[in-house]
């Protein structure tokens, strides 16, 4: 039921406030739902976490203000340092997925019969769930029937229980994580390689560039956007390494494969946890560490935008 459209007989009236400011307001109106969600689910919870980290609270009863006690305890907590150390190992070693993905992508970037099948096979580990990857690797490492130890047995090496050994366990889980992550980087580089300018390669050929030199000076600079994305997703992947740890070792043996995210979950939500304040304090520390990375990331984005 709309009013019939009548011809406008009045002289052009004074513009309303809405008409005057429409241009400026419209973007904000469109952004409003997004901003609302972002505030509700990201920004406000950050401040809430910081707030909770100053309390001792079991999630049920009264929360008591303890000031910086949680942080002081954290500074004296061996488990915290183990987790921190493991986080660093994860961040460093996970970066291997980038050159690994590049190698596989270069290898697969050829026109051979059935190459699509090979490509999809290489991409397969990224498609299956992390939980399945964790289980597969847990069995692979199994000291009794695991493939790895059977293979080691051929060389007369005693079985190694990777997941029960405090020195090897983190590396074992990272190796499991690298499998899907390499596939992810590979797909990024494959799309990147499609966009490489054939004329530049032609020109480089004429200048007698070959092999590694061609890769380093001609191909890689053109793959910079792909590399950038690969670094971003790999860092994120390393920091959200929670699921593999939970499936493969549950943080063990005796907590030596924990990372900060897992330790936070254990303290705040697991069966024996429910120390919300302490968990929040760990979350705040993790957030600060990520801030370093996020700041760098934002700065680079900003610089790139301006450079354009």
């Amino acid at each position: 039921m709309t009013a019939p459209a009548l011809p406008d007989t009045h002289p052009p009236a004074q513009k309303t406030w809405w008409q005057q400011n429409q241009q400026r307001l419209a973007p904000w109106l469109f952004l409003a739902p997004g901003i609302f969600m972002f505030m509700m689910y990201v920004i406000i919870p950050i401040f809430q976490s910081v707030n909770i980290s100053f309390y001792e609270w079991d999630g049920l009863g009264e929360a008591t203000w303890v000031g910086a006690d949680n942080y002081i305890e954290l500074m004296d907590d061996e488990a915290f340092y183990t987790s921190l150390k493991n986080n660093v190992i994860w961040l460093v070693l996970y970066m291997l997925a980038i050159p690994g993905g590049l190698l596989v992508a270069l290898f697969l970037n050829q026109t051979v019969r059935g190459i699509r099948i090979y490509k999809s096979l290489f991409f397969f580990p990224f498609v299956i769930s992390q939980v399945v990857v964790g289980l597969v690797f847990a069995w692979f490492y199994d000291p009794n029937f695991g493939l790895m130890n059977i293979a080691l047995g051929w060389f007369g090496i005693e079985p190694i229980a990777v997941l029960a050994n405090e020195d090897y366990v983190t590396y074992g889980i990272i190796a499991a994580g690298l499998w899907p992550q390499t596939a992810y980087c590979m797909i990024l580089y494959l799309t990147g390689l499609n966009a490489v300018d054939p004329e530049q390669i032609e020109a480089a050929r004429l200048d007698n560039a070959k092999g590694v030199k061609m890769l380093w000076y001609v191909i890689l600079p053109q793959l910079r956007p792909a590399t950038f994305i690969a670094v971003v997703v790999t860092v994120i992947g390393a920091l959200r390494s929670f699921d593999l740890i939970s499936i493969m070792t549950d943080g063990g043996p005796w907590g030596s494969s924990r990372v900060l995210a897992f330790y936070m979950y254990e303290q705040a939500f697991s069966e024996y946890g429910f120390r919300m304040g302490y968990g929040a304090a760990i979350a705040v520390v993790l957030f600060l560490i990520m801030m370093i990375y996020i700041t760098g990331f934002l700065y680079k984005m900003y610089r790139d935008e301006r450079g354009r």
């Binding site: 049920l60 061996e78 029960a164 063990g252 069966e271 024996y272 946890g273």
Partner: protein
């Protein structure tokens, strides 16, 4: 158009009224009994209660076992059922302290439960009040391969020296004496419980759980040293930190390991894996210090009324029904566990009979389990320490000092 929608609203309002009237006789039960046997037991239990109380409709929400541990915290505060299952001892303490459970002393008084459920009064009482009704428990002890023991000419060990000798003999024959999987930690808690109960006794074990004794105390060290004797003699399955308790069943089934310090729930999977009752046996954990009265481990499962329950009257009726001897007989027959009510009958099963005999003659006290008797944080740190100790026994002092640090924090 407007008229019909008005009529619809009226109809809706009426139906809401009706359903809220029906709500008076509705009983909501939340449980985590999702495994086949417990599920069947609860189905029968609820059916029996409904048959006796036709005016009460039971709504039963079944939760996954692991998820329940988190959901209970949410539903007790937000959307409370009328009944929920949980565990006795320290495990219910946080909810009692937060005022989320309702004391049910009146149910106990009216039905004479203090007499018929006498054995569990202690583990159900906090601050002088009783907080629920227990319906089942099961024994812990040593499950062993009878055929392997016979083959090796080993008699059932009753004291520490015999136990160690039996292990040595098994090791010689290339058989791991005790299988265990400590990936999820709690199995190591069971071993600690028994060695500590046998070395220092029930009262000390409980005092340690209450934080009254230091973890660096000489008596704790005595327990750990006894444990170390077994570790040094290669008693436990190699690489146990990589296995769950179910995965650790395999060596026992295959005959590569001979014993398992476990709860009675291990019998079902062992039988399913093909071990017959002639191959599988049970014995009480051997005596270490002959001056210490024998205490046993028998975790009790319970049902509670949340403080925010809407239909407490029928909930209490249900608890009274649950406490009856014939009901407990029936439910435990399906569960394959032991009834709490002393007038109930125990199933024919030989392990149940053995457990019943052991627990009814226990004079040293009945412990719940490490992670039920000890506060959650202490339990977590403790079991992690035990796992480390079982792999690196030389770190004993460092581990105990770490636990002492946790104790200082937990029991403020």
């Amino acid at each position: 158009m407007l008229y019909t929608s008005l009529k619809l609203t009226a109809a809706l309002a009426a139906s809401t009224l009706i359903s809220s009237a029906a709500l008076a006789g509705e009983l909501v039960i939340n449980t985590d009994t999702s495994d086949p046997a417990p599920k069947a037991a609860f189905e029968a239990l609820i059916k029996g209660f409904e048959a006796e109380n036709p005016d009460v409709t039971v709504t039963w929400n079944l939760f996954d076992h692991e998820g329940y541990k988190t959901s209970i915290r949410n539903f007790l505060t937000a959307d409370s059922p009328d009944l929920a299952n949980w565990y006795a001892g320290n495990r219910m303490l946080p909810y009692v302290n937060a005022g989320l459970f309702e004391p049910v002393d009146d149910v106990w008084e009216e039905n004479g439960l203090k007499d018929s459920l006498a054995s569990s009064v202690g583990s159900m009482t906090i601050d002088g009040k009783i907080w629920g009704v227990p319906y089942t428990y099961y024994q812990w002890g040593v499950y062993y391969r009878k055929d392997i023991f016979e083959e090796q000419g080993i008699a059932v060990p009753t004291n520490w020296d015999e136990f160690k000798a039996a292990g040595a003999k098994l090791s010689e024959a290339g058989i791991t004496p005790i299988t265990i999987g400590t990936k999820y930690l709690w199995t190591a808690g069971g071993v600690f419980d028994y060695i500590n109960l046998r070395t220092n006794g029930y009262d000390f074990h409980m005092a340690l759980g209450k934080g009254e004794v230091s973890w660096t105390d000489d008596r704790v060290k005595a327990t750990m040293n006894n444990w170390k004797e077994l570790i040094d003699a290669g008693f436990f399955l190699e690489n146990h930190a990589a296995y769950s308790w179910q995965e650790a069943l395999a060596p026992m089934v295959q005959g590569d390991a001979a014993m398992y310090v476990m709860g009675n729930f291990a019998v079902a999977p062992l039988r399913e894996a093909g071990l017959s009752d002639d191959q599988l046996g049970f014995f009480q954990f051997p005596v270490i210090n002959p001056d210490v009265p024998l205490a046993e481990e028998a975790p009790t499962d319970t049902i509670h009324i949340p403080a925010n329950a809407k239909n407490k009257e029928d909930a209490k009726k249900f608890l009274a029904y649950l406490a009856r001897p014939e009901v407990q007989t029936e439910i435990n027959k399906t569960l394959g566990q032991l009834p709490i009510n002393k007038n109930s009958e125990v199933g024919e099963d030989k392990f149940l009979q053995a457990g019943y005999e052991m627990l009814s003659t226990t004079d040293g006290g009945i412990a719940q389990f490490f992670d039920r008797d000890y506060p959650a944080e202490m339990a977590k740190a403790g079991m992690e320490g035990f796992q480390e100790f079982m792999v690196k026994p030389e770190r004993m002092d460092a581990i105990l000092e770490r636990l002492e640090k946790v104790r200082a924090r937990v029991y403020k």
